[in-house]
């Protein structure tokens, strides 16, 4: 690769040709402030906050979109560059509501951070104040809400939705000062092809797109003495929530998490990993049947609600390939109001199920009309990792000083297989571990599935070779599904996760979310799996007990009633 040498703030640096000035500045230890730039997305060059000065001709350039040139001399900190940067932030602020105090992103807002570090005062903004954008908010949900008045038009949401997810639910509209980011025909969020994956909310630098908060509902349930509040934590939470309390990305804090939930007032604290194990048995059995009967192959996972809704909009002709097994969240909730209620002698009507999820689409999933196995609302509330962290902070629990505690036993015991549900490839691996052993009695080593784009693997099971494909990010799923649609797919099992890297990169995870953080979080989960004593779902003793005492056997009539579901065709608008 050709190298280019340039000088940035009087430091010489040699970088690869094609590197941008902003990236080259990082090499010499300088983070040029920026807003529209995101390391995982294409370059946009819109906010003009990252302007730096070309010393040779005193011109300014947006460093995020300017490739390095040999002999270039750059100042990221000249008076001219800093003034221009400041002015662009002031211009954004002059058209931004002045209500940081009430904003969901207060404290995690990138615009706020830059304003603070540039020392911009209210007086500076007043000098150029004028008309402020006033358009209606979209709070139709169910998972995400948009406040276009806070939007700074950086286009990160537009790019992530188009480039990573291939959904393009959001686009720029109108011109000049009236420009906004909106849905097609300004349709409400609830009526569009949005998968509710929440990737837009994770890349939004301000509070323009945020999750619909359910914190108050949960507090109300906890406060009500007649209500028995049950918590389930998704597999990935233990490896991500620590970031909210200053831990390094990927630090696994399972014990502290359980302890914090108890301190918050949850009556019992369980893990969704338990029902992840259960999903493996239900889905694995279903897959085995399909494999034997050579029917509805490739078998496609359905535990990710973002992916399921995307499929319902775009591949409704392939819905019979999806596993009918419910997602671990919904299996858990159905059991909490049946199996758990029976075991504890609590009236299911008094049970309030809260799931702690990495995901915004789970908020949509809980409201799906076909999901009410207990004849009640199975899941009452979904909190994202960020929302739970906020509750913990609200009551001042010192997370880092908590004792490590264990989950409650009945639905808290889990295996390493359940744990890796939280990262891409985990479901496929967990399923194959069980399916292979069931068929052959042989033990399976970890599949070597990568984390980016489409990956595939082959597993010898008896005399058969099973072909597995993994897609994370909906844009990647698209090409796999097109093959299935065209009848050209020779895979037996396809795992799809809507978010890049799976749940560790989910729309409800702590911010910032970038490739590096996601990799570390995945590592946290795989390490936990490797250190687990029990690593196969079918060896989970409490799962065995569940079948023996309540469900009979996988795919039994009762299991079908409680643990399986249906899908529907949705308009592609």
């Amino acid at each position: 690769m050709e190298k280019v040498t340039l000088t940035i703030d009087q430091q010489k640096v040699e970088v690869e040709k094609g590197t941008t000035v902003l990236e080259a500045a990082k090499e010499v230890g300088i983070d040029v402030p920026s807003l529209c730039y995101h390391p995982d997305l294409t370059l946009h060059g819109a906010c003009r906050v990252c302007v730096v000065e070309n010393v040779e001709d005193e011109s300014l350039m947006a460093s995020c979109v300017s490739p390095v040139r040999e002999g270039m001399e750059i100042s990221t900190r000249s008076m001219k560059a800093r003034r221009a940067r400041r002015r662009n932030v002031e211009l954004l602020l002059a058209n931004h509501p002045n209500d940081c105090l009430g904003c969901d992103r207060n404290g995690t807002c990138e615009l706020q951070d830059i304003t603070h570090s540039l020392g911009i005062t209210q007086k500076d903004i007043e000098e150029i104040s004028g008309e402020v954008r006033e358009v209606p908010k979209d709070e139709t949900g169910p998972a995400l809400k948009r406040d276009p008045n806070k939007c700074i038009l950086c286009g990160r949401c537009v790019r992530v939705c188009e480039e990573v997810q291939g959904v393009s639910a959001l686009q720029f509209s109108n011109r000049g000062f009236d420009s906004i980011v909106t849905t097609a025909f300004d349709l409400p969020q609830s009526e569009i092809n949005c998968a509710n994956c929440g990737q837009c909310a994770t890349v939004c630098p301000v509070g323009a797109i945020t999750e619909v908060s359910e914190i108050q509902k949960v507090w109300n349930a906890i406060e009500d003495e007649d209500v028995h509040v049950v918590a389930q934590t998704a597999p990935s939470i233990q490896a991500t929530i620590g970031e909210e309390f200053g831990y390094k990305p990927g630090t696994v804090v399972t014990g502290e998490l359980v302890s914090a939930l108890r301190k918050l007032g949850f009556d019992s604290v369980f893990s969704t990993e338990f029902t992840a194990d259960l999903t493996i048995l239900e889905e694995g059995t279903e897959f085995l049947e399909r494999l034997i009967e050579n029917k509805n192959l490739p078998h496609i996972t359905s535990c990710c609600p973002g992916w399921v809704k995307y499929a319902e909009h775009n591949y409704s002709d392939l819905l019979n390939h999806l596993s009918t097994a419910k997602s671990p969240q919904q299996m858990f909730s159905a059991l909490s109001k049946t199996y758990y209620a029976e075991s504890t002698n609590i009236d299911p009507k008094d049970i309030y199920t809260v799931s702690i999820m990495p995901c915004t689409a789970k908020k949509f999933e809980k409201d799906r009309e076909e999901i009410n196995a207990s004849n009640l609302k199975d899941t009452d509330a979904v909190l994202t990792t960020r929302e739970l962290a906020r509750m913990i902070k609200e009551v001042g629990i010192q997370f880092e000083n908590l004792n490590k505690e264990e989950y409650d036993e009945l639905m808290g015991k889990h295996t390493g297989a359940g744990t890796i549900f939280g990262t891409t490839g985990g479901v496929a691996e967990a399923a194959v571990r069980t399916v292979k052993e069931k068929l052959t009695g042989e033990e399976l080593e970890r599949l070597n599935l990568g984390f980016k784009g489409i990956n595939e693997a082959e597993v010898e099971i008896g005399d058969r070779t099973i072909k597995v494909a993994i897609a994370n990010g909906l844009r990647n799923a698209e090409s796999l599904l097109d093959e299935v649609r065209a009848g050209e797919s020779d895979y037996h099992f396809i795992e799809v996760m809507a978010c890049p890297h799976g749940c560790v990169g989910g729309g409800g995870q702590p911010l910032p979310i970038n490739e590096k953080h996601k990799e570390l979080r995945s590592e946290g989960l795989t390490n936990t799996d490797e250190n687990s004593v029990v690593r196969k779902s079918h060896e989970n003793p409490m799962i065995k007990k569940l079948y023996e005492e309540f469900l009979d056997e996988p795919n039994s009539e009762r299991a079908h009633e409680l643990l399986h579901t249906t899908f529907k065709c949705r308009q592609k608008n």
């Binding site: 370059l43 946009h44 060059g45 819109a46 906010c47 003009r48 906050v49 302007v51 011109s59 300014l60 947006a62 979109v65 300017s66 490739p67 221009a84 002015r87 662009n88 211009l91 954004l92 002059a94 058209n95 000098e127 150029i128 004028g130 008309e131 700074i152 038009l153 286009g155 686009q171 720029f172 109108n174 011109r175 000049g176 000062f177 009236d178 420009s179």
Partner: protein, 600 residues
């Protein structure tokens, strides 16, 4: 009928301007009259493109004499037939009268408006039937393409264009040959050429006139362009608001395809070239080349940062060469006549001619093509015939919304790319608006900025937010609410937007404000500090009107036109105006038959 030899040709301009003022009806009337007088086989009607002298339209030229009739009405047609076509007597009253001398000029070439022009891009406009490929060929059309494709290598063509010194006519003035060279140098299995016909400057219509009046010239220019850079496919990106241009261009493409001038193996050279029209939805920013390509690809017309330049990664990621209509219209001439002839016209760094759309407070509005280096004075007075009502010249605005206002001191300025930039204006696509002392320069700046603000794509912060704030300041100055510090803030914001906006639209948007601040700062100051609009344009600042009671004859006509009932009967026979109520609209003063009402 094809071989009929006519004793006379009557050319009727059917450009958009003349059609709007009734050219089609005149043509029908003429058809009827010719039939009635049994002249159908003797006299041929030819519909042509624009003559450029739109103010005097509808225009009719009778050959072989070359008599130029202007502002022809339907009812004039029978007289033209009877007098001119039957008896050979020129209809004097329909001739053009020189505004300076009042002299009637029968012939086209002798009119001052045309005398100083040098028509290359517009050479055929108004002369040939744009819907006839044969007329184009008869006038030397496609000779240049034939020469280029069969006798020249791409390198030779690029060298010729470079040596001609042709620079992009769309506004930026980038050397065309160099641009072609970049596209040529990038090897690729697929390349594109694009003709930028997204003419968007308010008042500019040179591209439309060329497409309407001489579409084959553009096809020929593109054909040479494509061969030179190695492209086999091209697009003409033309705004949908130009239906006539689209229609004529499509007919021209079809005719060229029929004759094998487009398609496979053109002139037996083995070179293939296919051309499509892409209609734009009329966003000003789509004239910016990266936004234009995004629009062709079906995306929102939004500029992208360069590099990568279109020559490296253009349309659908392929090397692409984009040229403006007028630029391409010069190409056949350069190939036919050679770079030396072309470069002998113009100034040192700006060669050839430039078409300007001359409008505003000037007698002869229209489209003019002059050699680079012609002075503003010559354009305004010799070609334009001076200011309407012989008022005093105040400024000339060039370059449309990206340009600037040039004051009287620079009337002797020879017009070229560099001289205009030096005085804070720019060539732009060639808009020229003449202003007299009744023009408020703050209001002019506001007009252009409100245009760029509403046409901004909204992508980058400085353009989207910054121009809005500048516009708000201009609005308050015009409304009499300007405050100390506003001028400084306008300058700061203007320089800031120039320095940091993403594309050319944003970078040049502050020019009208900055150039008026440079030359007419006193007007801004008068608005802010003296609460006065010197030109009397800004209503909130205009002085109220007063009636001179000595002159007033008490006719009461002023009362009838006053929209706010500010005028009432005084003690005597005269009327008086209530200063508190008067909004200074001036309607009374205009109506007064004895000029008894004055402002101030």
């Amino acid at each position: 009928m094809k071989d009929t030899i006519y004793r006379s040709h009557v050319l009727i301009c059917t450009g958009t301007g003349c059609v709007s003022s009734g050219a089609k009806n005149i043509k029908h009337e003429l058809q009827d009259e010719l039939a009635d007088n049994d002249l159908k086989n003797e006299i041929k009607i030819v519909e042509t493109g624009c003559h450029g002298f739109c103010e005097k339209g509808p225009i009719m030229v009778v050959y072989p004499e070359g008599v130029f009739y202007c502002q022809v009405k339907e009812e004039d047609v029978s007289e033209i037939v009877e007098e001119h076509l039957l008896k050979g007597r020129i209809v004097e009253r329909l001739l053009f009268k020189e505004p300076m001398t009042e002299e009637s000029i029968p012939s086209y070439e002798d009119i001052d408006f045309y005398k100083k022009q040098h028509r290359i891009a517009l050479a055929n406009c108004g002369k040939i039937n744009p819907e006839s490929i044969n007329e184009y060929i008869a006038n030397g059309g496609y000779e240049a393409a034939g020469k280029a494709l069969t006798q020249m290598t791409p390198e030779e063509i690029i060298k010729e264009v470079k040596e001609a010194g042709l620079r992009g006519r769309g506004g930026g003035g980038f050397p065309t040959g160099l641009k072609w060279q970049f596209a040529f140098d990038n090897n690729s299995d697929k390349k594109y050429v694009i003709c930028n016909a997204d003419e968007g400057d308010p008042g500019a219509f040179m591209d439309r006139s060329v497409l309407e009046g001489d579409p084959h010239r553009i096809i020929e220019g593109m054909l040479i362009n494509a061969y030179a850079i190695g492209a086999d496919e091209g697009y003409v990106y033309v705004r949908a608001e130009y239906p006539l241009a689209i229609d004529r261009l499509q007919k021209a493409i079809d005719a060229a395809e029929d004759l094998g001038l487009l398609g496979e193996d053109i002139f037996g050279s083995g070179f293939n070239f296919n051309l499509h029209i892409k209609k734009g939805a009329g966003a000003f920013v789509c004239g910016e080349e990266t936004a234009l390509m995004a629009s062709i690809e079906g995306k929102r017309g939004m500029p992208n940062p360069r590099p990568p330049y279109p020559a490296e990664k253009g349309l659908w990621g392929k090397p692409t060469n984009i040229n403006n209509v007028e630029t391409l219209a010069n190409i056949p001439y350069i190939i036919n006549e050679g770079s030396e002839v072309f470069s002998s016209i113009g100034t040192e760094n700006s060669k050839g001619t430039k078409v300007f759309a001359l409008t505003g407070k000037i007698k002869n509005t229209g489209l003019v093509e002059v050699p680079m280096g012609t002075t503003l004075q010559e354009v305004v007075y010799d070609i334009g015939g001076g200011l309407t009502d012989d008022k005093d010249f105040k400024a000339i605005q060039t370059g449309g919304p990206s340009g600037g206002c040039i004051p009287e001191d620079y009337l002797a300025l020879p017009i070229d790319y560099d001289s205009l930039i030096e005085v804070g204006a720019m060539m732009g696509s060639g808009g020229m608006v003449v202003m007299d002392d009744s023009t408020c320069m703050v209001d002019v700046a506001r007009f252009f900025l409100s245009f760029t603000q509403s046409e901004s794509c909204g992508k980058c912060t400085p353009c989207r937010e910054g121009t809005k704030r500048m516009l708000e300041i201009l609005n308050r100055i015009c409304d009499g609410e300007g405050k100390d510090g506003d001028i400084r803030l306008l300058e700061q914001l203007g320089e800031h937007i120039k320095d940091t906006a993403l594309c050319g639209l944003g970078q040049t948007a502050p020019n009208p404000v900055l150039s008026t601040l440079q030359y007419f700062r006193n007007e801004y100051e008068a608005h802010i500090y003296d609460n006065k609009c010197p030109a009397g344009v800004c209503e909130e600042l205009a002085a109220s009107f007063t009636i001179n009671i000595d002159s007033c004859i008490g006719c009461g006509q002023c009362v009838k036109v006053c929209p706010v009932d500010a005028i009432s009967k005084g003690d005597g026979k005269y009327y008086i105006i209530d200063e508190e109520v008067c909004i200074s609209c001036g309607a009374c003063a205009k109506k007064c038959p004895v000029d008894a009402i004055f402002q101030g």
